[in-house]
């Protein structure tokens, strides 16, 4: 391996890693606020890419139908839980959040589609269509077992991923997509050609992580999310609703995953089931950060990207074997570094 190749591989790895980093940050966000290890973020990223590709091809993406179905399900579940608890006065709110807003988003996207919008608008539409999915899934799948153990939530999360893969095939079909590059610029740095897309990925990752940091440190909502992450019961006593914090976390997380999907679509061909590996690798990064640290997760994800890039140069067949085998030493290191209380364990 010459230094040229190493430089190209490193740049490639950083770009892939930056995409993973966005998903990893979302994963950490969800874990700290809701204790759910949300494996399906990778699927959300892949679905965004597929949505954008459909919009580019002037087809209305399957995402619309998916959101409508999930919204109806979530509304039914919410209504039945309101009925059980005798809280019918909250019905209008529930209808607004779980039915009207998601349907309005889909409707708006459908109308906008007819006007043959430019790329920038299509990007926004893709993100708009994708963001309701995770919060709706949260309501349907995780809210009823919000008090379960981390392990139960993880098991459910893995099952949910498989459901989403099936839905992905149903709504998007088996064809892989590769979208137009967002920019065709390229630049040379120290003798190595860097494509504009690569730059864009890294910049976007930096900008979105920065925005998240500002959100957490300078807004009340951001602080309430942090409070929920630190102490659920305590923040509840301060008037913060964990369910609401969870919804916000899912919205933000899916936005990050959506952006990463848009960024990766021009670089790699994305299939309905590509999300699993994206999600898992992001997740490896998140574990490097101990599932709690955002910078740690980002650094870990970039590390995974670089590792994968070099591993696929050495042996493209075994790159995934290498990446996942390396997770074990990382886990051991993290497990030793974190203290566990035994009281958490279910008897």
């Amino acid at each position: 391996m010459t230094s040229d190749i190493a430089a190209i591989l490193a740049i490639d790895g950083i770009a892939t890693g930056a995409v993973y980093a966005l998903v990893a940050i979302g994963t950490v966000l969800i874990f700290t606020v809701t204790r759910v290890i949300f494996i399906p973020f990778g699927d959300i990223a892949a679905f965004t890419a597929l949505t954008l590709a459909a919009l580019d091809a002037k087809r209305f993406p399957g995402t619309g139908a998916l959101v409508v179905i999930l919204a109806c399900l979530a509304t039914l579940i919410e209504i039945s839980s309101l009925l059980r608890n005798g809280e019918l006065r909250l019905l209008p709110r529930a209808l607004l959040f779980y039915l009207v807003i998601p349907l309005a988003v889909v409707g708006a996207a459908w109308l906008a589609m007819r006007a043959d919008p430019p790329l920038a608008i299509r990007l926004v539409l893709a993100l708009m269509l994708i963001t309701p999915i995770a919060p709706l899934l949260d309501r349907i799948v995780f809210r009823p077992i919000a008090d379960g153990t981390v392990l139960l939530l993880l098991t459910v999360s893995v099952a949910l991923h498989f459901a989403l893969v099936g839905l992905g095939l149903l709504f998007f079909g088996p064809e892989g997509v590769r979208t137009e590059p967002l920019t065709s610029l390229s630049t040379e740095f120290a003798g190595v050609l860097i494509s504009g897309q690569t730059m864009l990925i890294v910049i976007a990752a930096l900008v979105f992580s920065g925005l998240l940091y500002l959100f957490f440190d300078f807004t009340l909502v951001g602080k309430s999310l942090r409070a929920t992450a630190v102490n659920r019961t305590g923040s509840r006593l301060m008037g913060i609703r964990p369910a609401r914090a969870g919804t916000i976390a899912y919205l933000l997380g899916s936005l990050m995953a959506g952006v990463s999907g848009i960024l990766i679509a021009p670089v790699n061909t994305v299939f309905y089931d590509s999300g699993f590996l994206i999600g898992l690798k992001a997740f490896v990064g998140a574990i490097v950060g101990g599932m709690t640290s955002y910078p740690g997760a980002a650094i870990g994800a970039v590390g995974v990207g670089i590792l994968e890039s070099f591993a696929s140069f050495e042996s493209s067949a075994l790159k995934d074997v290498i990446v996942f085998s390396l997770l074990i030493p990382v886990l051991i290191w993290r497990s030793l570094a974190s203290l566990h209380s035994e009281e958490e364990i279910e008897e």
């Binding site: 098991t155 459910v156 459901a163 149903l170 497990s335 008897e347």
Partner: protein, 589 residues
Amino acid sequence: MTRLHVQLAALAAVVCLALAPFVLSPFSITLMNYIGIYSLVAIGLALLTGVGGIVSFGQAAFVGVAAYATAWVSALNGYSPWLGLVFGVALTCSVAAILGIVTLRLQGHFLSLSTVAWGLAIGFLFGNVEGLGRFNGISSIPPISIGSFALVSSAQIYFLIWGIVAVILFLGYNLMDSRLGRAMRALRGGNTLVESLGINAFRIKLVTFVIAAFLASLSGWLYAHMSRFISPGPFDAGMGIEYLMMSMVGGAGSLLGGVVGAAIVTLLKNSVQDYLPLIAKGASGQLEIVAFSALFILFLQWARQGIVPFVARYLPKIQRERPRTAPPLPRRVQPTPGELLLKVDGAERRFGGLVAVNKVSFEVRSGEILAVIGPNGAGKSTMFNCLTGALRVNKGEIVFAGRPITRDAQSRIAKAGIARTFQHVKLRPRMSLLENVMLGTYARTGAGLLAGAFRLNQREEASARHEALMQLERVGLGDKPFELAGNLPLGNQRILEIARALAADPTLLVLDEPAAGLRRQEKLRLAELLRSLRADHLTILIVEHDMEFVMSLVDRIVVLDFGSKLCEGAPAAIRSDERVQEAYLGGVA
């Protein structure tokens, strides 16, 4: 329902299974074969997840290792499938042992995540290794032959598969009811209790993990020689979660649940495949996994316990006989009263900058009750944890019965003869009183894995059962030995912990705030019990908050304040000591 009824039911089930191939259609027999093969993995998972509390997503990888191993031996190299079995089992168990040694010290969800990691890594390996046919797999695997009789048709291999399942269930239930099985069942709920009983938790976890992998390897061997063709598909991550689903649906923690779960999931999957095309033409493949995952999620939301425990609630309880008199377990040589038993010399423990225990020294003499008291934050619990090995002292030395135990692990200290109870009661609520107390006899007994599985441990078991019953009677809980520990009120749970500690035949009994949360009557009963134990020449160290309880009971008191020893003496002297009054009441005017 008596034991005989259970045995008759098992016999009836075996007869039905043996007759089934003569009645069922070939297709149904094939389905039954798959159920049997999956059952083996699910039984292993029930043991690992339900009993041991280790959630594994990677079991399919172990099935794959064995399947590929036997295919490599028999199809690619032309040896007998029986050699494939030996190689497959040996390889799978070695892989599991290595993975276990590396990962089983991980805690909680970290451990489960590691199973996702190696499950995926091994799964990817199958499709990418040159010699294993990559994604095309390995075909023309020979059938298993017994002598010159080849098990080719599904009705022929049926008997082998279900014979193995029946034997495994029999051995498994024997194991659950043995010394090692009880230790496995105690794993769930944390290591602290397990270690305090002289059980090496890591070793028990490793044994459980390898047993589960062994069952998966049997399944993989049968699978390879039944379907005669293997490819990476059936051993991927998706199948890993399906196995987990089987064991959870059946009832994690119930071995029979593994079989029931495998049957339900396989039949359900089959009918989903039959009916979905009628509802949605052309999309059935995708809908299948969606429907399946959705059902699993619903199941986890609404019926986490699983089917077998649910049904078992409606069956009449099994009547058990009270344990009969049996030869006693060997006892320790107790030190002569008045002899120096425990010596703490200059113990110091820091947490960062905080000195929780600061140069504390005291002695315990055989046959006395010594109390360590002090206001909140005095360092009592830290001192206690250092004594029992849950924490290490930074400086100083602890000598027990003439042997330094300063650096020993908890389980070694327990074996040396220090038995403890917990401030927050640690029992296994789903085990009976008798079984909870029998956990205490672990270090005094020695039956291993095979002795437990083949019931070669009966004499020792009878002695342990009898010992446990005697200790229950000694503390006054002897009337309902088969009641579940979780059904006792707190006061009796504390007493039960003492019975468990006594079953270890300790030389020193250490009690961590035994009176905390007890009502007055319960405290009186507890004091009564402790006095009777002293009359039997047992040495007792109590860490306690409740002055009244301590003053009327103990021989000597050590007072701690802000991590240091304030004073030491008889209760009356301590009561009148001004420094103690100041520490407790905040200064005397």
